[in-house]
């Protein structure tokens, strides 16, 4: 099956307000792509451009190699699941799931019940076929919404913050469920819009990070987490210490008084850059790349302690295994991190992309 989604320099504007700025992105067939970003970053707009609810001012949208930019939503053959479920309140669960099949008239009438049962089975909702949506809980309604989208056997599934309306416990259950569906439907491309990094990291094959109407970064979760390309990605995907440093001649960087041995790549000597170090990779005590400072705040988080240490007037966060004795505020302390755990973000790459 030839599926997949391609954005080719897609821009969307509302009355002169650019809400999606020249997006280039390809979702491979069978891939789960998460669009991750804060609200107003343009991620939902991108999804709606695929669904056909917004019309780009420029650029093309391709579905499975076919240019669909000019096609109305009902001729695009996509499945969509939205945050508010949007189940038709006047139809029973089975009728909701059958809606797309009946509307498209692509399937012989006799086959519809079988297809409905199959879709409901897949989401574990077969027992509720005769109920009305209002008789179901939020999680059950979302399962029906997914079944309804899957019943038309779309090659592309769009998920717009599908778990945001659910409570935390249901959310992790549904996340596992979605991952299972992805394994069972290896041909379906999914575009998953979310502002929650855990959802994106858990589910996605690749993550596209959006901010301020633009694509900031795109890569596998591991790549984005371990090798973020800019400050926005570093701080939005996971937690990060972003230290302003200066690249030294002959390798390494200078952070205040300290000289740190990190891979500087082809960064020019003397230029300013940002060093990204994940707080949980910062250790307490002497070691390579030692940073000396004063403890300003301590937060106990059960299994870990979060230390805020002031180094050369800059705060550095460290997440360390729970300490037997809570450190005293104002006490001098030494932190360290391994060279390979630090990433140097290029100068000027930062915000705005």
């Amino acid at each position: 099956m030839n599926s997949g989604i391609r954005f080719d320099a897609v821009s969307v504007a509302y009355g002169g307000n650019v809400v999606l700025d020249s997006l280039d992105l390809t979702v491979e067939p069978g891939e789960v792509m998460a669009l991750l970003g804060p609200s107003g970053s343009g991620k939902t707009t991108a999804l709606r451009a695929v669904a056909g609810f917004v019309r780009p001012v420029s650029g093309r949208v391709f579905l499975g190699g076919r240019d669909v930019t000019e096609l109305p939503p009902y001729r695009r053959g996509i499945g969509m699941v939205v945050q508010q479920y949007a189940l038709f309140p006047h139809l029973k669960v089975a009728e909701n799931v059958a809606f797309g099949l009946k509307a498209q008239k692509a399937v012989p009438r006799a086959e519809i019940p079988g297809r409905v049962a199959e879709a409901l089975d897949m989401t574990g909702m077969a027992a509720y076929a005769g109920r009305y949506p209002r008789e179901l809980s939020g999680g059950q309604q979302q399962r029906v919404a997914i079944a309804r989208a899957l019943a038309i056997r779309p090659s592309v599934l769009l998920l717009d913050e599908p778990l945001s309306a659910l409570d935390a416990q249901l959310r992790s259950g549904m996340l596992a469920e979605l991952a299972r569906l992805h394994r069972e439907l290896p041909d379906v491309s999914m575009l998953y819009v979310t502002h929650d990094q855990v959802e994106a990291l858990t589910l996605a094959d690749r993550i596209a990070v959006m901010d301020k109407a633009r694509l900031q970064d795109c890569g596998t979760p591991q790549e984005l987490y371990r090798r973020p390309r800019n400050e926005f990605t570093a701080s939005f995907v996971g937690n990060a210490n972003l230290l302003p440093v200066e690249v030294r001649t002959g390798g390494g960087v200078r952070f205040g008084e300290a000289v740190l041995k990190v891979d500087t790549g082809d960064a020019a000597a003397g230029s300013a850059a940002t060093l990204c170090v994940r707080p949980h990779l910062v250790g307490l005590g002497e070691g390579p790349n030692a940073l000396r400072g004063t403890i300003r705040e301590v937060q106990w988080r059960g299994s870990t302690h979060r230390l805020y240490v002031e180094v050369d007037g800059r705060p550095v966060k460290a997440d360390v295994r729970e300490l037997r004795e809570t450190p005293v505020l104002g006490a001098p302390v030494t932190l360290h991190f391994a060279s390979q755990d630090a990433v140097l973000l290029g100068a000027g790459v930062g915000s705005g992309g």
């Binding site: 969307v12 509302y14 009355g15 307000n17 809400v19 804060p38 609200s39 107003g40 939902t44 707009t45 709606r48 669904a51 056909g52 609810f53 917004v54 019309r55 930019t69 000019e70 096609l71 109305p72 939503p73 939205v82 945050q83 508010q84 717009d160 913050e161 945001s164 502002h195």
Partner: protein
């Protein structure tokens, strides 16, 4: 009137708002981006007819059954009996004493009834909303039912209550032994005024009750805990909140009173002639169609002008 996010200003707030509201806002903004492309206002719709074509059939019907007749009335009002186009019918009608007194009666009755409805409606709605009593819901229901009955029933009822041999006069003669009761105002404009106030007060109460239900009662509790007396709370907290609803309800009632016919007809008094009554008597009783059309045009001009104000006011009030 909350239009479906059709305001382009809605988009920037969407960009800054919290995540929960964002998607709803975007979904509305989506309809803005591609307006008028389909019957249901969706995205790209390259084929098929444009949206305004769908508006044509009902507009054509309305034009045939409403606008065309209205235009004929206007045309007729400028035509003399001999078929010439002139302003003469207007001159004749404006010169007649009957028209001038009907215009005066209509306006003062409408203004008086509106004022009465506003005062009475405000007081009654205040009690229903803020001094709740068992059965208050039933009273609100009753008001809805009341609105679905025709206006002339009120005049019919008043005939039994205040008519020359009705309840009130019967009580008077029974108690005093007099041969006639003192109540003899039904065939005067006061009878019409009473009937109009009775019938149209619910039209003021409905929007008021809706507005009152929006007022946070904790606001009133805070005000009274700060030592404000009832009168002060009504003046400084409730009245400002109710003002848009009062304005909207008041201007609606004003228009309806200007156009009221059934109440005046049932009063059956020669002494009370309003503009609609004059239209009726000129056209049906005297078969003087040009004159009837002139009065009709004047009546329409006043009412539609006021109705335009009502639309503006009620849009501001969000009603």
């Amino acid at each position: 009137m909350p239009s479906t996010g059709a305001d382009p200003k809605a988009v920037p707030t969407e960009l800054e708002s919290g995540s929960a509201g964002t998607d709803r806002a975007t979904s509305q903004a989506g309809t803005v981006a591609a307006p008028g492309r389909g019957f249901s206002g969706q995205g790209p719709r390259p084929r098929g007819v444009p949206a305004w074509v769908w508006a044509l059939p009902p507009v054509a019907v309305l034009a045939l059954v409403f606008l065309y007749p209205l235009a004929l009335v206007v045309q007729q009002s400028f035509t003399t009996d001999s078929g010439d186009v002139s302003l003469a019918p207007y001159g004749d009608v404006f010169a007649s004493e009957a028209f001038r007194s009907a215009l005066g009666t209509t306006v003062w009755l409408a203004l008086g009834a509106t004022a009465g409805c506003l005062v009475l409606g405000f007081a009654l709605a205040l009690v229903i909303a803020f001094v709740p009593f068992p059965g208050g819901k039933a009273v609100a229901k009753f008001i809805d039912v009341f609105l679905s009955f025709p206006s002339f029933l009120i005049t019919l009822a008043l005939l039994f209550v205040y008519g020359s041999v009705g309840m009130a006069n019967g009580m008077w003669t029974g108690v005093t032994g007099a041969s006639e009761g003192p109540f003899d105002f039904l065939t005067t404009p006061w009878g019409v005024l009473l009937a109009e106030i009775t019938y149209f007060t619910p039209f003021v109460m409905r929007p008021l009750l809706a507005a009152f239900s929006q007022i946070d009662t904790s606001q009133l509790e805070v005000a009274s805990s700060l030592g404000a007396r009832t009168g002060r709370i009504v003046r400084q907290v409730i009245l400002p909140e109710a003002l848009p609803a009062l304005a909207a309800g008041g201007s609606l009632v004003l228009v309806l009173c200007l156009n009221e016919f059934g109440i005046v007809l049932f009063t059956g008094a020669k002494g009370v002639t309003t503009l609609p009554m004059l239209v009726y008597s000129k056209a049906i009783l005297e078969s003087d169609y040009p004159a009837a059309c002139v009065v009709a045009v004047v009546n329409v001009a006043i009412s539609v002008g006021l109705y335009g104000i009502y639309r503006v006011v009620s849009r501001r009030a969000g009603a």
